[in-house]
């Protein structure tokens, strides 16, 4: 659908497109392998995945290439430079979050500014029971914590449930509110969850307060015997990032599948009807309350699962990871990509995460090197630059600019959903 927007005709026709895309992927992965520390090379690799998506390659070949790049090339490059794998995992986590928020904001049109609360609930669910923390409020005779690592998979399902439950819990009282009132209340809810996490170390120590919880169990390396049989001896240090990468990739795959099925089902259409006109939707027989609760529950459940993965990946969590900033970050991903559009949410999440983790951090490091070297630009000695100034600390500014520019210049987003575009054009 979006291929037409691309100016180059070369990548629209299947055969030349296939050749070009394969060449670009090969070239970029070679350059990453050759210059493992070059951020530009890795961004080229990321761009090649984007190119693959937009190109007119025949669908089956596209699928094969996608599996190859994400399932084989990315892990290999990740073993060359571990940071890239970390970036890929983070992108995956945020893609799932953006897709979840996309259901609530993009499809159902309910602006949720406290989305990160569900993520926090998921993260704390595993953190409390997957670490010795639970011993502090459950008497030691009945159960011994941390739970064994195998429970992680049970908790992945529990994460869906707790996320959905929290979503419904928030949804019930606030469903009567519309528009910006709803936004403010969800914002308040997000803050309440964070304040609770910060302060529930007394009278009962549930969350260990601002100190956070550590160490949290990681999932079991159940495939290790298989690897040993195959003659591969790998240490947990190298295995865990790859493990998390594939885990996140798998979950993102499931989330995308669920999203696509939902979007075109009667539920998705009901959500969009609510977004367009609540009264008309109700008149047409859309059960408002049930559909809105369902939207909240679905969106929240994705965040819940990713919260579980996040806490297991980080081994340590504290309330600082779940601030309002995170909620706005996910929101700007959805808006950048295009509200209500699945490829949009994926692209938005990738762009923002890469910008944050890679570009800004890279810029900070580079600036620091220049500063230490005392380089002079246009007669200004960079050594005089105040030490407080660090591009990596200005992500709010980036989010802010993204939000304002997008709603003014291109409210439909980078990859708009077709129905949404029509709505914006009418008004």
């Amino acid at each position: 659908m979006s291929a037409r927007a691309f100016p180059a005709t070369l990548i629209q026709r299947p055969v030349p497109a296939a050749i070009t895309v394969m060449a670009v992927i090969a070239l970029s992965s070679y350059s990453v392998a050759h210059f493992p520390r070059s951020i530009v090379a890795f961004m080229l690799f990321q761009a090649s995945i984007l190119l693959l998506y937009f190109s007119g390659v025949t669908p089956w070949l596209k699928a094969i290439l996608a599996v190859l790049t994400l399932g084989l090339l990315m892990p290999i490059l990740g073993t060359i430079n571990g940071f890239y794998l970390e970036v890929a995992i983070q992108v995956g986590i945020f893609v799932a979050l953006a897709l979840g928020l996309n259901i609530v904001v993009g499809l159902a049109g309910l602006l949720d500014l406290g989305y990160v609360a569900f993520y926090a609930v998921g993260a704390y669910t595993w953190a409390i029971f997957g670490s010795p923390q639970a011993n502090r409020f459950i008497s030691e005779t009945t159960a011994q914590f941390p739970l064994p690592p195998e429970w992680f998979f049970v908790f992945l399902l529990l994460g869906v449930l707790t996320g959905a439950m929290t979503g419904i819990l928030l949804g019930i009282p606030v469903l009567r509110l519309r528009g910006d009132y709803l936004a403010i209340v969800t914002l308040g809810f997000g803050e309440v969850i964070r304040v609770l996490a910060n302060n529930l170390d007394k009278p009962i120590n549930l969350t260990n307060g601002p100190k956070g919880i550590t160490p949290i169990q990681r999932p079991p390396l159940f495939f290790r015997p298989v690897l040993n049989l195959m003659g591969i001896e790998a240490s947990p240090v190298t295995l865990y990032p790859l493990y998390f990468y594939f885990l996140v990739l798998f979950i993102v795959g499931v989330v995308i599948l669920v999203n696509r099925r939902l979007e075109n089902s009667h539920i998705g259409r009901a959500w969009e009807a609510i977004r367009e006109d609540e009264v008309a939707a109700q008149a047409m027989g859309v059960p408002l309350v049930r559909m809105k609760l369902l939207a909240f529950a679905c969106g929240a459940s994705f965040a819940g699962v990713m919260g579980i993965v996040f806490s297991a990946k980080q081994v340590f969590i504290n309330p600082e990871s779940f601030t309002f900033l995170e909620s706005i970050g996910v929101l700007s991903m959805v808006i950048l990509g295009g509200m209500g559009s699945i490829p949009g949410a994926i692209l938005g999440a990738s762009v923002v995460t890469i910008l944050n983790l890679q570009v800004l951090k890279g810029l900070s490091l580079w600036l620091n090197e220049l500063r230490n070297a005392g380089v002079t630009i246009l007669g200004y000695n960079l050594a005089d630059l105040p030490s407080q100034f660090e591009p990596a600390k200005y992500e709010r500014m980036i989010f802010g600019i993204i939000l304002v520019l997008m709603v003014i210049l291109r409210p439909q987003g980078i990859i708009p959903s077709r129905r949404r575009t029509r709505e914006l054009r009418e008004k």
Partner: protein, 323 residues
């Protein structure tokens, strides 16, 4: 329960609550006026407020560096701070409206709101960037003014600092002026007309865009004044200070009935008092189990309860929903 202790701190609690309440009332005016005219939550208003606080601290630091702070009368300095803070914040609010809200007028409701969130985030880091480059620090402290910090005793248990009284007085004067402006002048009538019905107001020869700008100017100026007073009262400011007071002030506006100017004052005072009571008595009443850190949760719960059970607020008219 220790009743004498609870009663003993009561006057002080009420005084603190009043100060906080007037602060909320001043900020809430910005939200409520803009909402009255455009039916839009100006999420960036909390940063307009912080800008006022930073203008104040910059002027004070500049005066201090030249050692004029001890020479000039503190009340003159205070007037200067208020005037500068109001001017800068007011103009900033007008600019923000021009750049980020006006192009979006008439779009679906959520669109300008998202833009406002963007502006809010942008301004937070813009202040931080500016202060980082200018002072190499962005957590700033208001220099103490000795004459304002002097305390005097009312009774044997209650003593009041001069600055508390000054803050309350300044807030009262400003609220009264605003009340006169909106209800007794032609300009105020025009603003009210625009709030009532933009199209008809425009047919009556009112320049709607100019009135909207004026609304932002007044709301922003009140926010800026609140920022200066906040700095004088609580000393410590940083670019992110505005978030929590902003949300609280919005709560106050909703509590009083959003779009309603006396409502914002009543709502601000009620919320300020409730919150201070909660902060002082929570830990006493629960024997230390829940401390004052729950006061934010308390305020948010108040907001949620009002929105559910009395969405029009204490003094409000019915709010029309425009979808």
């Amino acid at each position: 329960m220790d009743l004498p202790l609870l009663l003993g701190i009561l006057p002080e609690v009420i005084l603190d609550g009043l100060i906080l309440g007037f602060m909320y009332a001043l900020i809430a005016l910005g939200y409520t006026m803009v909402y009255g005219v455009l039916e839009f939550i100006n999420f960036a208003h909390s940063e307009i407020f912080v800008v006022g606080a930073f203008v104040g601290v910059e002027i004070l630091l500049a005066l201090k560096a030249r050692e004029w702070l001890d020479v000039l009368s503190p009340f003159l300095v205070l007037l200067l701070l208020l005037a500068a803070g109001m001017a800068v914040s007011g103009l900033l609010a007008v600019t923000v409206e021009r750049v980020a809200y006006r192009p979006l007028r008439g779009k679906p409701r959520l669109i300008p709101f998202i833009s406002a969130i963007g502006v809010s985030f942008f301004l937070q880091d813009a202040i931080r960037l500016f202060e980082s480059l200018w002072r190499n620090a962005f957590n700033l402290v208001y220099p103490a003014m000795d004459q304002l910090n002097r305390r005097f005793t009312l009774t044997e248990t209650i003593d009041v600092s001069v600055k508390s009284l000054v803050v309350i007085l300044a807030a009262l004067v400003m609220l009264w002026t605003l009340h006169l402006l909106v209800n007794r002048t032609k300009l105020g009538k025009a603003i009210r007309a625009v709030a009532e019905d933009q199209a008809t107001a425009s047919l009556m020869g009112i320049n709607v865009n100019r009135m909207i700008s004026l609304t932002f100017l007044i709301g922003g100026a009140m926010g800026g004044a609140a920022g200066v007073l906040f700095g004088i009262q609580y000393s410590l400011i940083n670019p992110y200070t505005g978030f929590v007071p902003g949300i609280k002030a919005f709560t106050a506006a909703v509590l009083g009935g959003i779009g309603n100017i006396p409502g914002a004052m009543v709502g601000g005072l009620v919320l300020g008092l409730l919150e201070t009571f909660a902060a002082s008595y929570f830990s006493l009443l629960t024997h230390g189990a829940f401390g004052s850190e729950y006061k934010d949760i308390f305020a948010f719960s108040v907001l949620i309860l009002i929105l559910i059970f009395r969405p029009k607020g204490l003094l409000g008219e019915v709010v029309r929903e425009r979808t």
